[in-house]
């Protein structure tokens, strides 16, 4: 009786998880909405791999230099208008002790590689531009920012150092700039000539601050105060300090997948998944009868749970990842087959169906545990060594194997115990037997 209640709970859980994980079959509340994250090979797009030259950087400072490199590149890519770009740092440990630092830039939907490469490779520009007084009166809402300001020749090249500082009275953060000698002279001249005008600060062509010149600034120092948070101030300071990229980079790999090819691969992966589920279900039910039906329900739970985990972590799905998942469906079936074959043996030895089932689970567990552990070891090594494509495969395989063990020993068991007959009739023997035996 206890198991029947558990079984009902388990089935309800299956319905709930399936509902939460489905897309487009039934409406669901917004907090449940989560999309699968598709890799570039399925979504189409470009992946660029850069080697960073860390030869001139002390070993201890490499991580922070890489981090600022990543942020600079990420900001440039964002400026490109790519939806959800991913910029990641990869430590390529070449096992000889020499570590190469790489930057992997993934641009979903971008196939114009030349433009992307140019954008990433260019040096960002910091520029001070002075207000054009002649435009002050004629300007309308449609006048572009570029028309309102004239270049002064003061650029990021002339900034020696930038730092976040705080106003002693209000505590508000501002940015302190120190120019080089050349920059200081130019700055002093520009501020002398334009007292009362706005000196706009442009970063990568976008104005980020509009301070007004109150007086000549002769000492080569300037302050940019504005309505920014400490975070924003730090960001700007980093941009100014790293007007050029913090580390020289070199393009070492490009990969572009056309959107239609990606789409085709995705559809093919899904279709293969559905077919393989159908084939497995047919085989299990024909060969293992009633327990086979249980195994199929349990497999559905397995698939729903895995997809939920893929959405939650989230696991980036690639063609290899989908293949890994489909393979893990096969491994999940194995746990059930091990249990059922064992049950059959125990029934043949003369045990009642009920006892045979308990024995079957008990004895098969060791095999299931040991064999799956071997698969998990493989998945971990793959994940540890692999590049992004291999990692995708390793992750789906590993997650799949863990979840399959879990569903086999909890879900399948609960359902089987719930339907097992207490008496051993001819019919129950036929239902719980398998293969060509009746």
């Amino acid at each position: 009786m206890k198991y029947r209640i558990f079984a009902i709970v388990a089935l309800l859980a299956l319905v709930a998880v399936s509902y939460a994980v489905q897309d487009g079959f039934a409406p669901k509340p917004a907090w449940l909405e989560r999309q699968f994250q598709l890799g570039l090979d399925l979504a189409g797009g470009t992946e660029l791999v850069y080697n960073a030259d860390t030869a001139d950087v002390a070993a201890a400072e490499i991580p922070s230099a890489m981090e600022s490199l990543r942020e600079v590149i990420e900001r440039r890519v964002n400026a490109f208008g790519v939806s959800e770009p991913i910029v990641t740092i990869e430590h390529a440990n070449a096992l000889g002790g020499r570590t190469e630092e790489r930057l992997v830039v993934q641009l979903p939907g971008v196939t114009d590689v030349a433009k992307a490469i140019e954008l990433i490779g260019k040096t960002p520009s910091l520029e001070f531009r002075v207000e054009r007084l002649d435009m002050r009166d004629t300007a309308t809402a449609s006048t572009s920012v570029d028309e309102l300001f004239a270049p002064t020749g003061i650029t990021g090249r002339l900034v020696q150092r930038a730092a976040v500082e705080f106003d002693p009275t209000t505590g508000a953060p501002y940015i302190g700039l120190m120019f080089t000698d050349e920059g200081g002279k130019l700055f002093s001249q520009v501020t002398r000539d334009n007292v009362g005008s706005i000196l706009a600060i442009f970063l990568d062509g976008t104005p980020i601050s509009f301070p007004t010149i109150r007086e000549e600034i002769p000492n080569g120092r300037a302050q940019i105060s504005g309505q920014f948070t400490i975070q924003e101030a730090k960001q700007i300071v980093r941009d100014l300090n790293y007007g050029a990229l913090p580390l020289p980079i070199e393009l070492v790999g490009t990969q572009t997948v056309g959107p239609s090819l990606g789409q085709a691969a995705f559809v093919a992966g899904i279709r293969a998944g559905i077919w393989s589920l159908a084939i497995i279900a047919l085989f299990l039910i024909l060969w293992y009868r009633l327990p086979g039906v249980v195994a199929v329900v349990s497999l559905c739970m397995y698939v729903a749970l895995s997809l939920a985990v893929f959405k939650l972590i989230p696991v980036t799905l690639t063609a290899a990842g989908i293949a890994g998942f489909i393979l893990s469906i096969g491994m999940a079936v194995d746990a059930n087959i091990l249990i059922f074959e064992r049950m059959k043996e125990e029934i043949r030895r003369g045990l009642s169906v009920k006892d045979a089932m308990h024995e079957g689970f008990h004895r098969a567990w060791l095999s299931i545990r040991d064999s799956n552990t071997a698969s998990i070891i493989t998945a971990i090594i793959l994940f540890w060594l692999g590049t992004s494509a291999v990692k995708g495969f390793a992750l789906t395989l590993g997650v799949g194997v863990v979840i399959s063990m879990f569903t086999a020993i909890t879900f399948s068991r609960t359902l089987l115990y719930a339907i097992v007959p207490n008496t051993s009739s001819k019919l129950s023997r036929i239902l719980f037997s398998n293969g060509s035996h009746f």
């Binding site: 090819l261 989908i322 489909i326 074959e341 064999s371």
Partner: protein, 311 residues
């Protein structure tokens, strides 16, 4: 018992396939892809009539060193060249518009030689590491089994099986890509080999596990049974499970092979061969090897005993 008694035949079949595969890897040779050698792979789909392969060869020859041009499907070409600089890339892409034939660039993949050689090294390390970890794991899991064959020999039997399972699919892949389909050895290939390793061990452990259980049962009930009988019995008992599981996974892969589309076709082919090899090795190779080890131990002990009586 049939399998144990005829083990020499099964060892022989495995050996022939194993060395045959090695021969294939020497000639025609392992087709390392650009993932490992560095270079550029371009896949174009012509939207109108596809130009002749010769025309493309002629158009690209002055621009760069072309490694291979393979027709794929009805409308596509897969072109491999040495690594292209951005400028050369543009002129290559322009040259592909032969007689201004329209095409779409489906895939462009360029890898520098340093990444390539690093991946190659990493892949070897991964395969060796997986085999090593698995053998250690098996020695650990079967640590309580010491008679009549010590647990590390279960590990050795697994290594032999694993070597068999890696080499034969690799050999089959050489044949496959040489005669039937476009493809080369890329990261996905290595991934597939590692998955095969995982699966084969999975399969082998199930049989070994049964041997362990039967040995324990015998010692508990004080039944005297020779080792080859125990192993033979264990194979028979797990036979149904092995075949059914392998069959299911094989069917899954067949689905992937037929419906999975071009990107994973070679991958699923490799895995299918791997599943067959893995199943064969766990039933016909790894377990009979245990008996082989036990026989040799006995022969040695026997020889030693004779020696001591003579002395």
């Amino acid at each position: 018992m049939y399998i144990i008694n005829n083990r020499r035949w099964f060892f022989g079949i495995a050996a022939v396939l194993f060395f045959g595969s090695i021969a294939l890897m020497v000639y025609p040779g392992v087709p390392f892809g650009i993932d490992f050698t560095g270079g550029t792979a371009i896949e174009v789909v012509y939207t109108g009539e596809r130009p002749l392969q010769k025309a493309i060869e002629a158009a690209l020859a002055p621009l760069t060193e072309v490694a291979s041009i393979q027709p794929a499907g009805e409308q596509s070409y897969l072109i491999r060249t040495k690594e292209l600089t951005p400028e050369v890339k543009e002129s290559v892409l322009n040259a592909l518009h032969i007689n201004s034939a329209p095409y779409t660039l489906e895939r462009y993949n360029s890898t520098g030689p340093s990444i390539g050689s690093e991946l190659q090294r990493k892949s070897y390390v991964a395969i060796v590491l997986v085999i090593l970890c698995i053998v250690l794991f098996i020695t650990f899991v079967f640590r309580k089994v010491s008679a009549p064959v010590p647990s590390w020999k279960y590990g050795v039997a697994t290594i032999v099986a694993l070597a068999h399972d890696v080499v034969i699919p690799a050999g089959a892949f050489v044949l496959w890509t040489h005669y039937f389909a476009a493809g080369d050895i890329d990261l996905l290939f290595v991934t597939a080999l590692l998955a095969i390793l995982g699966y084969s061990v999975h399969d082998t452990i199930v049989v070994f596990d049964r041997v362990r259980e039967n040995l324990r049962k015998n010692s508990e009930s004080r039944t005297v049974e020779s080792y080859d009988v125990t192993v033979g019995k264990s194979i028979t008992q797990t036979f149904g499970r092995s075949i059914n599981t392998s069959l299911t996974i094989f069917l899954v892969l067949l689905a992937l092979f037929i419906f999975g589309g071009e990107p994973t076709r070679n991958f699923s082919f490799l895995l299918m061969i791997g599943i067959i090899a893995g199943t064969y090795s766990s039933i016909f190779l790894a377990s009979p090897l245990l008996v082989f080890f036990e026989r040799r131990q006995q022969a040695k002990a026997h020889a030693a005993a004779q020696k001591s009586t003579i002395l």
